[in-house]
Amino acid sequence: MRWLALIWKSLMRSKRRTLLIVGSLVLSVFTVAVLQSLLTTLDAATNNPRSSNRFVVRHKSGLTQMLPRSYENYLRQQSEVETVCALQWFGGYYQDPRNFFANFASDETTLFQIFREEFGASNITEAQIKDYLRDGTGCIVGESLAKKNGWKVGDVVPLTGTIFPINPRLTIRLIFKSPKLSDENALHFHYKVLEEGVPRMKGLCGSFWVRARRPEDIPRLLERVDRHYANSAYETLTETENAFNLGFVKMLGNIGAIIQGITIAVVIAILIVTGNTMATAIRERTTEIAVFRAMGFSAGRVLSLLLAEGVLLVGVGGFLGVALANFAAGGVRGSLGMAMPFFADFSIQPETALACLAGALAIGILATFIPAYAATRRPITEGLKAVG
């Protein structure tokens, strides 16, 4: 028998209790890991390092209000601006309204420059881009979206409009990859399709995505653009791409506070449950602990053995919880990820997994240490007298 065997056998004293505590740990760690990863995912969506050169101009009163496309001229005239891309959320679906994904009417001539970093991840060729530019009813789709629907270049995708009363039939000219899965679950088509198909959209667009030459220029530009259009018929709201995305996340409510609240509640609950279970388990062994010590096990040795039991218990629970969360993350990407772009990037980050494991271990140590320390401070003679 080795020390580990002794620890393991002691843990298996009450299989039901051990199973219950491991089960509640798995559930708690799973919950916390998923929620914290959700938070990190949303944070990442509003903290895209590749977006540092970009900002977004839209109507001051919201995204449903349009801006004149002539604004592009003013934007291009600014010496700090490299290029501008008109981009409108189309909101169509393919075959089934539940089959929802991000699709945009966008200025095909500048799209690839604006999102240079994103498109740079794929090996798309000049020839492919030309194919798309040449075909007025062409479209480009992300690889993960194409895979999901079994699309390939040359296929025709009929989109049904929900916001706009047109149902464009688009031919796939290019399939792109992107460093972020959320960008890959998207479809873009020529802006003209929208402008020509929907009379009220003539010369209008919901947002302009602007690429500055240098990130340092952005604060100045944001201010200048909004000032320029202040008191005009179409006032603007100009913000960085990250701030723009944050607006979407904020629509979900104060998610951060809710998640942290739940996390704290789960941690406290599991600490109480684990602490109580360990206290009971150790109390039941009062006599046994006294016998161990009579045989020559020092108080410190007994304490380490009990702590090792607690650590092993929560270690197993924590590991399984993280593993389960990781497994579930794949499911979230595959389902919710298609509906909400942010969730396409959902995963349990290594830091979150480690933090959850460390948290579980801390709970195990704390929950075991208190009753174990008390037990080893008890006089041996008292422990031997205890009925157990």
Binding site: K9, S10, R13, V291, F292, M295, T381, L384
Partner: protein, 241 residues
């Protein structure tokens, strides 16, 4: 007549020497003396039955000798060590090396089988796997339980459990065995078996044994009986066997 005369337990080097040992408990400011002025020398190889009425301090005295309790006065020298000089951790190692414990309720670890229970005290000795196995098997064969090695305590009779406990007590080859009512939970036949076993440990292996018992029949197996009365030594009786 001095104390040494009254409690003469025969010749031989003393393995236990108690000088004016006292133990008191305090309830609030009130001192409750449990043992007073205990002077006692027990020679190597003795087999002592510690007797006396309930509450007379037998268990308390045994615990002091075995180093799991501390006196409030006097000194104890056991197996060559002045126990007052040892700190708690040193005392723990000392117990591991020198004392084997036998309890009334056997106190085997329920989740370990007979072999593993006996092996427990050896985990502290630094003995290797092979050596541990040899010693455990030797101890179990001495108590005649080699065939029950893989049984868990719940799969053993009371008498067998106590024999496993005895094997555990002797596996480290201690000089001193202490037993508090070792037959208290056994029927007459099993009690007789356990007592015969302890007598063999005394005569054949030369273990010094201090056994607390109420039972005159059990006490008869010892070579000397020491009587405690209200915390003081009352008289010593040599047993004629």
């Amino acid at each position: 007549m001095n104390a040494a005369d009254r409690f003469d337990l025969g010749g031989g080097e003393p393995v236990i020497t108690l000088r004016d040992v006292a133990k008191s408990y305090w309830r609030e400011d009130l001192e409750i003396p449990v043992l007073q002025g205990i002077d006692l020398e027990i020679p190597v190889g003795a087999y002592i039955a510690l007797m006396g009425p309930s509450g007379s301090g037998k268990t308390t005295l045994l615990n002091l000798v075995a180093g799991i309790d501390r006196p409030t006065g006097g000194s104890l020298e056991v197996c060559g060590y002045d126990l007052n000089d040892l700190d708690d951790d040193q005392l723990a190692s000392w117990r591991n090396a020198h004392v084997g414990f036998i309890f009334q309720n056997y106190n085997l670890v329920p989740v370990l089988n007979a072999f593993e229970n006996v092996e427990l005290p050896l985990l502290l000795t630094g003995a290797g796997r092979g050596e541990r196995r040899d010693r455990v098997e030797q101890a179990l064969s001495l108590v005649n339980l080699t065939d029950r090695m893989r049984n868990y305590p719940r799969q053993l009779s009371g008498g067998q459990e106590q024999r496993v406990a005895i094997a555990r007590a002797i596996v480290t080859d201690p000089d001193l065995l202490v037993a508090d009512e070792p037959t208290g939970a056994l029927d007459a036949k099993n009690a007789e078996e356990v007592l015969a076993l302890m007598a063999r440990l005394n005569t054949e292996l030369g273990k010094t044994i201090v056994m607390v018992t109420h039972d005159p029949k059990a006490a008869h197996h010892a070579r000397h009986q020491i009587h405690l009365e209200k915390g003081v030594l009352d008289r010593t009786v040599e047993v004629n066997r």
